[in-house]
Symmetry: D2
Subunit: 116 residues, 4 copies
């Protein structure tokens, strides 16, 4: 069974609290840590072709998995500090996107996707 | 009850598939979209003090919530395209971090936190 | 004749000073503004193929030119605030890179390039 | 005398050419490398207060100087590949900014600065 988002949130809050790191975890600082981790994902892909980015070898796959974990961890932390329920926010945003990009208008168009 | 990560993943996969957008959703491209969304979060905080980043007004709180949703959406998408279970990866990474940063060694130290 | 880096630095310092913006221009904040601008460049390229990123239409070329200008502006500002001479630093770093990546070892290899 | 931007551009072009790296240096890829380097600057500042980011110790100052060099290097490269004259573009953008943010309207206001 998959680990619940709420369980992760609580465990990460305890992790920071036990280490007395909440003093560093302002939303401003956490947003910086979040983008720094995201950039480490970028680094794995920057010299690969799109095609190669779909077919990573085992070592790179493992490294990329850990980068995704780091991104997720800081995303959960910054959302927690801002009292945002990530899953509910995403659900709501998907509904907005579904209304904004009707299938018949944007099908197959990257231009459409990026304009919004 | 909170929306499940798996439900979000499926809905986003269907969203892209219905719009024929999988052709643009290589891990390389999605990592770029992910960092672009993360930077929009950064923009909200760049001229704020740390303290002010903890106390957003209602309008900014709403805007920031939608940025977090966008980040989460692209994170779920890139993880899905790489066959990574985000929650399991985060759980594993937290275990690694717990071993790497023992409370007694790093308590209250940002230097410690950033060195790892 | 090309505009000198030093002239740009001075003009940007005066721009901030006249507007009483130095109070917001800590290196921390400027690094955030810098990455936010860099992400706007990323946005232009995220759904394009590598090939298409080499052949922008006139409108996109103009938009990208202004993004590069924004990045350069904030890079000059953060360097100025840290008393770093950008051109000298780059020159020194190129010398380091030339020693680190000898032609005969890294020729034609992206793997080599990214490992360093 | 300061190193000229044009001299840096030429030296970096030769550096890539000698190593047969132009094949990897599409604007898309270079924009990714640029943001990855920018994130390394962010990492230096993410747990520091704004005040501390103004007063780095010698070791950190040296590290940050090299990050700024890396950012500048990739910025010059991507501009070169897009046939953009960085200094001229910045000059033009500063003129636009001067018209857009008249001193009397935005003086001392971060809100003003960020709204534009």
């Amino acid at each position: 069974m998959a680990v619940q988002l709420e369980v992760l949130r609580e465990r990460l809050a305890r992790f920071a609290s036990e280490r007395d790191w909440d003093q560093f975890h302002s939303p401003k600082n956490l947003s910086m840590a979040l983008i720094a981790e995201t950039a480490e994902l970028i680094e794995h892909f920057q010299w690969l072709s799109e095609e190669d980015s779909k077919n990573l070898d085992a070592e790179k796959q493992q490294a990329v998995t850990m980068e995704l974990a780091d991104i997720f961890i800081f995303l959960i932390r910054v959302a927690d500090k801002l009292d945002v329920n990530l899953a509910d926010a995403a659900w709501k945003k998907i509904e907005i996107n579904e209304a904004r990009y009707p299938v018949e208008k944007v099908k197959g168009s990257a231009k459409r996707a990026s304009e919004y």
